[in-house]
């Protein structure tokens, strides 16, 4: 075993190069002014203060709102699907879970483009509506479009951890609950759901993380005017060129996610 422990060393070196050093550089950027030279570094909180301006705060709140909504929708859909899948016999479950993950094999960009051809003004859905003799509805570049894209892309990340905790659950807990007089509904809320909470939390964390930092989906389905945290960071680095402010926003986002995870883990621990 001791010998094998040495195998971790390349990984440590690798993470140092691609994770730790960029993180330090990000911190450096976030706390300095633009136009610094290597010799003359001036530290400042200016970048963080700037984030408190209403324009940016609104972007943050919008991201948060959309993220939480995505999580909520994914949770309801994902739990339902995971629960249904877990009722089948094991071999069928494996096939169903495979089907859930199939979309993940396809590039996310492609999947998102597919939604454009479905939702756009002369897309699939509107063609269907006009066939039925209904007025076309403009769906692209709305919260609805972004939401649908996010939910569809992130749903597997909710289903899989919940399914795992449901399928490995000892069936005798359910029988014990019936035995003690609880009907199926009471058993679900008092036993099954409670025991699946670790899976739910993992799913919630994953989906929240993904949806609060995504920028491809809002860009494609929300249009150029649709700005979320991910887009804000992207534009600071790519088009505006203000790496300092971009770094500061990234750090704020990272800290928020970190605290969200810590808080949820704490809720989980308190519950058990």
């Amino acid at each position: 075993m001791r010998y094998f422990k040495k195998l971790v060393r390349p990984y440590i070196a690798w993470s140092a190069v691609v994770i730790i050093i960029p993180l330090i550089m990000m911190l450096l950027y976030a706390f300095t002014n633009s136009g610094n030279s290597l010799l003359n570094i001036q530290f400042t909180f200016e970048n963080f203060k700037r984030f408190a301006e209403p324009v940016y705060l609104n972007v943050f709140l919008k991201s948060l709102k959309l993220g939480l909504l995505t999580v909520a929708i994914c949770l309801v859909l994902g739990y339902t699907l995971a629960y249904i899948i877990a009722q089948f016999k094991e071999s069928t479950q494996n096939v169903l879970i495979l089907l859930v993950t199939v979309p993940m094999w396809i590039n996310m960009l492609l999947r998102t483009y597919a939604w454009i051809s479905i939702l756009s003004d002369n897309g699939l859905l509107n063609a269907l509506l006009s066939k039925l003799g209904l007025e076309p509805v403009s769906m692209m570049y709305t919260d609805f479009a972004v939401m649908i894209g996010q939910v569809c892309d992130f749903l597997p990340f909710m289903i899989i951890p919940i399914h795992t905790s449901l399928s490995k659950m000892d069936k005798s807990f359910i029988e014990a609950s019936y035995d003690l007089g609880a009907n199926p509904v009471q058993t679900f809320f008092k036993v099954v759901f409670k025991l699946s909470i670790p899976g739910v939390l993992n799913g919630v964390i994953m989906v929240f993380l993904l949806s609060i930092s995504t920028f491809v989906i809002p860009k494609l389905l929300g249009g150029g005017q649709y700005v979320l945290m991910g887009n804000l960071i992207e534009s600071q680095f790519v088009s505006v060129g203000d790496w300092n402010f971009g770094s500061a926003i990234s750090i704020i986002l990272a800290v928020i996610i970190l605290f969200a995870i810590r808080w949820m883990k704490k809720v989980d621990a308190a519950d058990n």
């Binding site: 000892d170 005798s172 807990f173 029988e175 014990a176 609950s177 019936y178 035995d179 003690l180 007089g181 609880a182 009907n183 009471q186 008092k190 036993v191 409670k194 025991l195 909470i197 519950d271 058990n272």
Partner: protein, 345 residues
């Protein structure tokens, strides 16, 4: 005694395998009944049908005279102690025991009082706030019993509840379970493959094998008067010998005729004879009908297990007297030590 549960011709098949092939059983009020048999004999399935987790394919299940085989488990007046206890890991000891009462929306103060009384009954007072996963096997066992009994069921079902405990704890719990059963005065249906457990705790033992009930009787009945070869060999150790019933109270085997106390067989019917190892005495070979040579002697703690090779077979004998290997000995037993059984087809 009043009949509480009645199973009439119950059958059950899982994936083309018939696990129960027609079970007929009456269970009375206040009795400690044990379903005893090797694994796969259908004893657990029988229990699960009574609990409501499995539905019989055919047959009737009467509870207090009412057919209940289609009734879901949460509507039955029975509670179960599961093999691995199935205590809810997200609830503490108090919440686990109070589960059934909380489902019934019992008043908080009543719940508290009843849980305390239950903890006292199973000897776990003061454990209310403990995490169930931190308890030892024996303590979890007690919590499981308390959780079931607090609902005041008419019947408590126990599915090999002592299987996971070590030998010493098993003995203690056997004693305690019997005590609890007498204290609460309800029917216990106990499933086990351990014959000693069955004999020492039960009022009635139901020996099962291969989806059939082999014998129903008191512990002394099934031990002393086994009805067939399976029961004789499964419960305790025995010498099983093929013989012929010459007439009432006279049986012949190994070239000799022996007086016995069994009746009701046809004259000259082929039968099987059970001789318990502890019922055979080693005597001097002169004048003994059966003689042989001591083949092996194994010290078993309380007694020696001696194998004596006679003309037709080896006899197993349990005795506290030592006897060296290679000696010629005679075997002796009285008429009441011979148990004659129907020959199994």
């Amino acid at each position: 005694m009043n009949t509480l549960i009645e199973l009439n011709n119950i059958t059950k098949t899982f994936d083309d395998q018939q696990v129960l092939k027609g079970i007929n059983l009456k269970i009375y009020e206040n009795e400690f009944l044990t379903l005893l048999g090797p694994s796969g004999c259908g004893k657990t399935t029988t229990l699960r049908i009574i609990a409501g987790f499995d539905e019989p394919d055919c047959g009737e299940l009467l509870f207090g005279g009412i057919e209940i085989s289609k009734l879901p488990p949460y509507k039955r007046e029975v509670n179960t102690v599961f093999q691995k206890y199935a205590l809810f890991p997200h609830l503490d000891v108090f919440e686990n025991i109070a589960f059934g009462l909380n489902i019934k929306k019992t008043e908080k103060s009543v719940v508290k009082q009843k849980v305390e009384r239950m903890l006292e009954l199973v000897g776990l007072s003061g454990f209310e706030k403990r995490d169930v996963t931190s308890l030892s096997g024996g303590q979890q066992q007690r919590v499981a019993i308390a959780r079931a009994l607090i609902n005041e069921p008419k019947v408590l079902l126990l599915d090999e509840p002592l299987g996971a405990l070590d030998a010493k704890l098993r003995k203690e719990m056997q004693f305690e379970l019997k005590k609890i059963q007498k204290e609460v005065g309800i029917t216990f249906i106990y499933v086990t493959h351990d014959q000693e457990e069955a004999l020492s705790m039960s009022d009635t033992v139901v020996v099962m094998n291969d989806g059939y009930i082999q014998q129903i009787g008191t512990p002394t009945d099934v031990y002393n008067e086994p009805e067939n070869r399976f029961v004789a060999s499964f419960i305790g150790e025995s010498n099983i010998i093929e013989g012929v019933m010459i007439r009432d109270c006279l049986v012949s085997f190994d070239d000799f005729e022996f007086e016995c106390v069994d009746k009701g067989f046809k004259d000259n019917e082929d039968v099987e004879v059970v001789l318990r190892p502890e019922d055979i005495d080693i005597v001097s070979p002169e004048g003994a009908k059966l003689t042989g040579t001591v083949e092996s002697v194994v010290f078993k703690g309380v007694h020696y297990e001696i194998m004596v090779k006679s003309k037709y077979r080896s006899y197993m004998i349990h005795t506290t007297d030592f006897c060296e290997e290679g000696r010629r000995v005679g075997l002796s037993f009285g008429p009441e030590d011979i148990h004659v059984m129907w020959k199994m087809v």
